[in-house]
Amino acid sequence: MNNAIEVEHLVVTRGKRRVLHDLSCAIPRGSVTGLLGPSGSGKTTLMRAIVGVQKIVSGTVTVLGHPAGTKPLRDKVGYLTQAPSVYSDLTVQENARYFASLYGEGAANADRAITDVGLAEAKHQLVGNLSGGQQARASLACAILGHPELLVLDEPTVGQDPVLRNELWQRFHDFAKDGTTLLVSSHVMDEASRCDRLLFIRDGELIADDTPSNVRQRTETDNLEQAFLQLIEEKV
C-alpha cells in the first residue's frame, strides 16, 4: 500500500445539490498534498468523506487500507474541521489534555502539541477569549495529538499571520518527513507551491492531480493561480 488514501468514483449529494461527481484520486503516503479550489468546490465534503463523517451516495473511500471512518482508523487519522471545533469554555490546555486522553496520551504530549502550534503563551486562556487565528491553532493542536498516520486539515492556515503560516507549513513538512501523510485544503493559491502534490478541484470535479512542477510545465506558467485558470479553460 503506497497510497494513504484511495478514492474511487465518489458521488456525494448534500441536500439536493450534487457536490462531488464521480471523483477518483489517490494520495501517496508520507507527502503533503494540497487540496485547492474556490470555496464551494467540494473540498470540505471530500475531506469529510475521507475521515468518514460524510454520507456518500456511491463510490469507495479507502484510507490506510481500511474503509473510511471504520474503527481501526480512529486512532490513526487526525481531522481539523474548518471552523475551530474545540470547547470554547475550556482553556487551550484543558482542551488539548482532554483530546490527548482520548488517544491514551498524557499531559506532556498535550503540552507539546500546544507548543507545536505556537500557543504555549496562551495555554491557560479560555479558548473563547482567543482571537480567531488562535482558536484555529488550538483546534489544530488537538488534531495533531495521538501521532496520526494521516492528518486531514481543512484550511489550517486561514487567518494566520504570514510568519506563523510559514512556521505551520514547515511543521507540516516535518510531519511528512516522519512518515505522516497530510491532506491540506486551502483556497489561497499561493499555498499551492508549498505542497508535494496538488489536487485542483472545481465544482466537485478534479481538474488536476499532479506535482506543482508538472502543473507548471503542462500549463507553461510559473504562476499556479494562472495554471489553475488555464486548466479550467482546457476542461471547458
Binding site: 460524510q54 454520507k55 481531522y79 474541521t81 470554547s88 484543558e94 482532554y98
Partner: protein, 241 residues
C-alpha cells in the same frame, strides 16, 4: 474515556460560575418561598416540598444537558469526537456521570436546607429522597440528551422544556391526584416517567420504610433512563448528510 469525558464536562461547568450559582441558588430560593407560602399549612409543605426536591433536578438537568449537547453538535466537537477512538457509549456515560455528580451536589445542598432549616418532614429516610432526586436528575439528563437531537438551535432546545417536561408536571399527580383524572389522562400518565418519580417520593413521604411500590418506581425510572440513553445513542450519527 467516559471518566475523562465526565471530567471535561465538569471542568466546562466549573468555568461557568454563574451557571453553578443558578443550579444551587434557584432551587433553594424556590423551596424557601414555598415554605413561607405554606407557612400556616406545614403538612402541605411536607407534601409539595418533597416533590419539588425531585422536580428541580429533573428540570434543571434537562435544560443543561439539552443545551450542552446541542452545543456539542453545532460546534463540530461531536463530529470531531466521533473521528477519535472514543465510543458513543462513553460520550453518553460521560454526560451521565458528570451531570449525576452535579445533581448529587445540588440534591445534597437543597435537601439539607429542606430537612434542617425549613423543617421538611418525611416519614421515610432523607437519604432515599436524595437517591430519588439523583435518579430524577439523571432522567432529566437522559431526556435532554435525546431531545437535543431534534433541536437545531438553542432557542428550540429551550422550548423542548415546556413541551416535554410541563405535560409530565401536569399529569404526574402533583396538581391533581391521578386516580381522580379522566381515564384517558390517567392512561397517558402511566407512560410518563415523571409519574413514577413523583409516586416514589410520595411513598417516602407517608411510609417510614421503603415500600415495594417505591422500589418498583425507582426501577421504572432507571429503565426510562436506559431507554432514553439508548435512543440518544441512536441519534449520535457518525455519518451525516
Amino acid at each position: 474515556m467516559a471518566l475523562h469525558t465526565a471530567a471535561r464536562i465538569l471542568r466546562q461547568l466549573r468555568h461557568d460560575r454563574r451557571t453553578i450559582a443558578l443550579i444551587l441558588v434557584v432551587p433553594t430560593l424556590l423551596l424557601t418561598l414555598l415554605r413561607y407560602l405554606y407557612d400556616s399549612q406545614p403538612l402541605l409543605f411536607d407534601r409539595v416540598g418533597l416533590i419539588m426536591l425531585g422536580l428541580f433536578p429533573l428540570v434543571i438537568m434537562f435544560l443543561l444537558t439539552s443545551v450542552a449537547m446541542l452545543r456539542e453538535r453545532t460546534s463540530g466537537t461531536l463530529e470531531r469526537l466521533l473521528t477519535t477512538p472514543i465510543r458513543k457509549v462513553d460520550i453518553l456515560l460521560g454526560y451521565g456521570i458528570a451531570f449525576a455528580v452535579a445533581a448529587a451536589v445540588q440534591a445534597a445542598i437543597v435537601s439539607a436546607l429542606a430537612f434542617l432549616l425549613l423543617g421538611l418532614d418525611t416519614l421515610g429516610p432523607p437519604w432515599l429522597v436524595g437517591v430519588i432526586a439523583i435518579g430524577n436528575a439523571v432522567l432529566g439528563m437522559a431526556l435532554g440528551l435525546l431531545v437535543s437531537a431534534f433541536a437545531n438551535s438553542e432557542f428550540q432546545a429551550v422550548q423542548f422544556m415546556p413541551a416535554v417536561v410541563l405535560p409530565q408536571v401536569l399529569l404526574c399527580g402533583l396538581l391533581a391526584p391521578r386516580d381522580q383524572m379522566a381515564g384517558w389522562m390517567h392512561a397517558i400518565s402511566n407512560f410518563l416517567p415523571m409519574t413514577y418519580a413523583v409516586e416514589a417520593l410520595q411513598e417516602l413521604g407517608v411510609h417510614p420504610d421503603p415500600t415495594t411500590t417505591m422500589w418498583r418506581d425507582l426501577a421504572i425510572i432507571v429503565g426510562c433512563i436506559l431507554v432514553a440513553l439508548l435512543l440518544g445513542a441512536a441519534t449520535l450519527r457518525r455519518r451525516t448528510p
